[in-house]
Symmetry: C2
Amino acid sequence: METAEPDLSAELLALDNQLCFAVYSANHAITRMYKPLLDRLGVTYPQYLVLLVLWERDSVRVGEIGERLMLETNTLTPLLKRLETLGLVDRQRSPQDERRVIVSLTDKGRNLRGEAARLPERVFAASGCSVPEVQELRGALVALRDRLRARSGE
Amino acid sequence: METAEPDLSAELLALDNQLCFAVYSANHAITRMYKPLLDRLGVTYPQYLVLLVLWERDSVRVGEIGERLMLETNTLTPLLKRLETLGLVDRQRSPQDERRVIVSLTDKGRNLRGEAARLPERVFAASGCSVPEVQELRGALVALRDRLRARSGE
DNA sequence: ATGATATATATCGTGCACGATATAATCGTT
DNA sequence: AACGATTATATCGTGCACGATATATATCAT
């Protein structure tokens, strides 16, 4: 016999034992929960994330949005153009540094914040979690993410 | 004054306080960690998930793969065709019920399992988590996901 | 047997995500 | 001043994800 643990290998590869699939499927479930709520605002979930960044601090570079959301410009550029088409943001080159494109909220984009403010609460209610549970889960995920990111860069 | 808690609203919408973004960004980090490992097997992460299903039980309907991965056929059909083009699976109509398409592993697809068996361990090592931590995190995510799915259907 | 309904998969269009590459502006060194 | 390297954004091609719709088979009521 070459190997004495056929079960260990099967256990390791079982879908329901995989943390990665738990994260993957939870992400889809959350996105689907947000979908009908965001439809009413007329934006997609990644677009909503960009708005969260801008509602915190307006008029930032494309690259800075990318750093916060951990996305590349090849994702953000077309997304930001759609937000511009929707009339929610403006994009203009920085006069100081013509390489930079500054993204800023329009009045319409700023006003959307009021409607969006209700969303996290509604998703929280659907989650069935307590506040400490959510915080612990979030903390564990962020810690995991940051460790993986540190290892990926090596 | 209409509202006395401008800070509460800001807190709720802060990117770094959002569980949804923690899940979203952790998912990306995990996918990026898998990417170079899966490149060597010649498959993408969602394709790998399909293979996990088939390695557990071979020759299943498209719809059953969809149920396990929580994906629709509009995602799976083209993905399965790519796996077929890669020579990893076969797709054939069920003789009993001509509506069904049965997906089964080729020898090549079966053989890939040996190489894939090392992956979870390597990602686990990069996670920096202990086994109980991973299990708790996975359990919390699955519970959250299933509650959200139950609420979404309402 | 026949038509209505349900089931299983496929197709189409849009948007996200990313590797690879391109383009243009800036900076540093000489 | 000039040139190479770096920085910031954009473009292109591929694959995933999903809503809407289509198609074909199966089932059920009559």
